[in-house]
């Protein structure tokens, strides 16, 4: 089994304090970088590590940092995306509650690389313990000289502020996050311009996920070569996998990128509950289409899951066994997306609430002939036609559920009842 990297301190007493973090080698990466690295050299190091964003899209982190203009006259911003809202996902919360300094050190390093002197942590408002821990950790970092003016005697300055979201899933989308931080409704912006050129307050901005940033100090301390040798070559590194649903041992597992999904579910999470069989698995939060049990040998990396018709997303793995109804699950997922649609574009706003009406009808034993064809039609009308990825994810997942488990849907229409409930 891989040594723990991101969770190595998780079981240490007071792991959230600066003392525990320093005792485990914390803030050494910052000292090294401020002494030995020019900002561009740090960007190169992160590029060499081949770290890919852990928020869902999997974009190369060093490349993203490299897009930020070098002009020193331009003010730049860093936003840490801690708006973890993808159903089935609880990894960033673990980092923030158990080892917040790891993420803060990653933020300081990123800010140094891109030349930002102001950074915000956009965190979902429900995460009360994470918010308390981050506020306390930031204060400790200021007191120790890791934040503020002339950090560790260098000429680098940085302030970090916590900004609480208020219950909108869409704010996990980076341009909606920026809109929200500017004090507006969380609605995505048209791209381009991309945030690296024109983001927060119309300034160059990097938005990185909590887990992504938490990887950075380790890359500095142990080297890009070490990092890129862990797991999948195309997107390497340690990875936090969130296991939930119908498994014996739900929980958070740190394992290499690219581990087979079957190993994750059957060995680490203990497999199906007694007397049950796994029917389907959602591999990356509800935006990622479910796959069949027979496809569980797929590897948990960006490319393998894309080839399997789904995605790694947030690595929120939700296991569904043979005692549950896919129509019920698909209905609940579509209700979620319909509720969280920001309302900006019609295919998402109207299409999803229409799909919910039909799905609820099926679940209530009131399905009609033509309902499934109407759902197919709606998926086609939404997918590829929405302003951001929310509508795409919703339609993609529903379409795959309709394909994989057509029999269950047909049963609901023909028998006017659910075979499971």
């Amino acid at each position: 089994m891989m040594e723990k990297v991101l969770l190595k301190n998780a079981e240490t007493p007071d792991s959230h304090t600066v003392g525990a973090y320093e005792a485990s080698g914390g803030y050494q990466a910052l000292a090294t970088v401020l002494r030995d690295y020019q900002p561009d050299e740090l960007i190169e190091l992160v590029k060499e590590s081949n770290l890919k964003g852990r928020g869902g899209a999997g974009f190369a982190t060093g490349v993203k940092w490299g897009f930020v203009p070098k002009d020193p006259a331009l003010k730049k911003y860093l936003c840490c995306n801690a708006d973890e809202g993808e159903p089935g996902t609880f990894k960033d919360r673990a980092i923030m509650e158990k080892d917040p300094h790891q993420m803060i050190e990653g933020m300081i390093l990123c800010a140094y690389a891109i030349g930002a002197e102001t950074a915000y942590i956009y965190i979902r408002g429900e995460y009360t313990l994470s918010i308390q821990r981050l506020e306390a950790a930031l204060q400790e970092a200021y007191d120790k000289g890791y934040l503020g003016q002339r950090i560790l005697g260098s000429d680098f300055n940085l302030d970090i502020y916590v900004h609480c979201g208020a219950g909108a899933y869409i704010c996990g989308e980076e341009t909606a996050l920026i809109e929200s931080l500017e004090g507006r409704r969380g609605q995505p912006r048209l791209k381009p311009p991309f945030p690296a050129i024109e983001g927060l307050y119309a300034s160059p901005t990097v938005v990185n996920n909590v887990e992504t940033l938490a990887c950075v100090p380790h890359i500095v301390t142990r080297g890009a070569e070490w990092f890129s040798a862990i797991g999948s070559a195309s997107g390497p590194g340690p990875k936090l996998y969130c296991l939930s649903g119908h498994v014996r041992k739900p929980g958070l597992y740190e394992l290499p990128m690219g581990i087979p999904l079957r190993e994750l579910v059957e060995e680490h999470a203990g497999g199906a509950k007694p007397g049950r069989k796994i029917k389907a698995v959602i591999p990356g939060g509800v935006s990622a289409p479910m796959i069949l049990e027979s496809d569980l040998d797929v590897c948990m990396d960006f490319e393998s899951l894309a080839a399997a018709g789904t995605m790694l997303g947030s690595a929120g793995v939700i296991v569904i066994d043979d005692n549950d109804c896919v129509v019920r699950v698909a209905t609940r997922i579509t209700e979620f997306f319909a509720h969280e649609s920001c309302g900006k574009c019609s295919p998402c706003r109207e299409g999803l609430s229409w799909a919910v009406k039909i799905l609820r009808r099926l679940e209530n034993g009131e399905g009609k002939e033509g309902d499934l064809e109407q759902l197919d039609f709606l998926c086609d009308g939404i997918f590829g036609n929405t302003f951001c990825a929310l509508g795409d994810g919703a339609a993609w997942g529903l379409r795959r559920a309709l394909q994989h488990f057509r029999d269950e849907f047909v049963y609901h229409v023909e028998k006017k009842e659910c075979p499971f409930h």
Partner: protein, 181 residues
């Protein structure tokens, strides 16, 4: 623009106290625009009053020197802002997939029956509001609910009964529903 209003008899009831206005000014220092301070200011007000009535929204707009509609759109877009009164204990039950698979649906029925209210309603004594929310990010300990700021995990019907009894017995000076931290 700094707004330093005094509480006066002529201006009618005022919701933002001097201390709150001072805190709001402090918050604006974190951002290059005052508009960014709307969300944190609303959390501050909600922490104090439990929900955001129209007068509070107007006073936040005035304190920040921003158009009222900017404040109103934030208060109504984001689900964590209560624009109607909520009970002393705001129960937020997750029914998203991981919780659904572990029968959060039957826990919702149980809560509705126990409290004698439907989702979205508040008990007559003002003690409990029952809301259904999306994923709370604690899926490995499903089913999960949050009451005010506290998470309750691996729920069962019996466990919920115990929690409700414990809350009913709690003295009335407990914390309010509102700000996240």
């Amino acid at each position: 623009m700094t707004v330093e209003s005094e509480v006066s008899a002529e201006s009618g009831p005022r919701f933002l106290t001097k201390e709150m206005r001072k805190k709001i000014e402090e918050i604006t220092g974190r951002y290059p625009t005052r508009r960014s301070a709307i969300m944190p200011s609303l959390f501050l007000a909600q922490e104090e009053y439990g929900y955001l009535c129209d007068e509070v929204l107007l006073e936040v707009a005035e304190a920040l020197g921003v158009p009222e509609v900017w404040v109103y759109e934030i208060a109504t877009f984001y689900t964590m802002f209560n624009t109607t009164p909520v009970g002393r204990f705001h129960i937020k039950l997750c029914t998203n997939v991981s919780c659904l698979l572990l029968e959060a649906g039957s826990l919702l029925s149980h809560l509705e029956k126990r409290l004698g209210i439907a989702r979205g309603e508040t008990t007559g004594d003002g003690l409990f509001t029952l809301s259904v929310v999306e994923c709370l990010g604690s899926c490995d300990t499903a089913p999960v609910m949050q009451i005010n700021k506290t998470y309750y995990e691996t729920l069962s019907a019996e466990g919920i009964d115990q929690i409700l009894e414990e809350l009913k017995a709690r003295p009335a000076d407990g914390g309010r529903e509102g700000a996240p931290a």
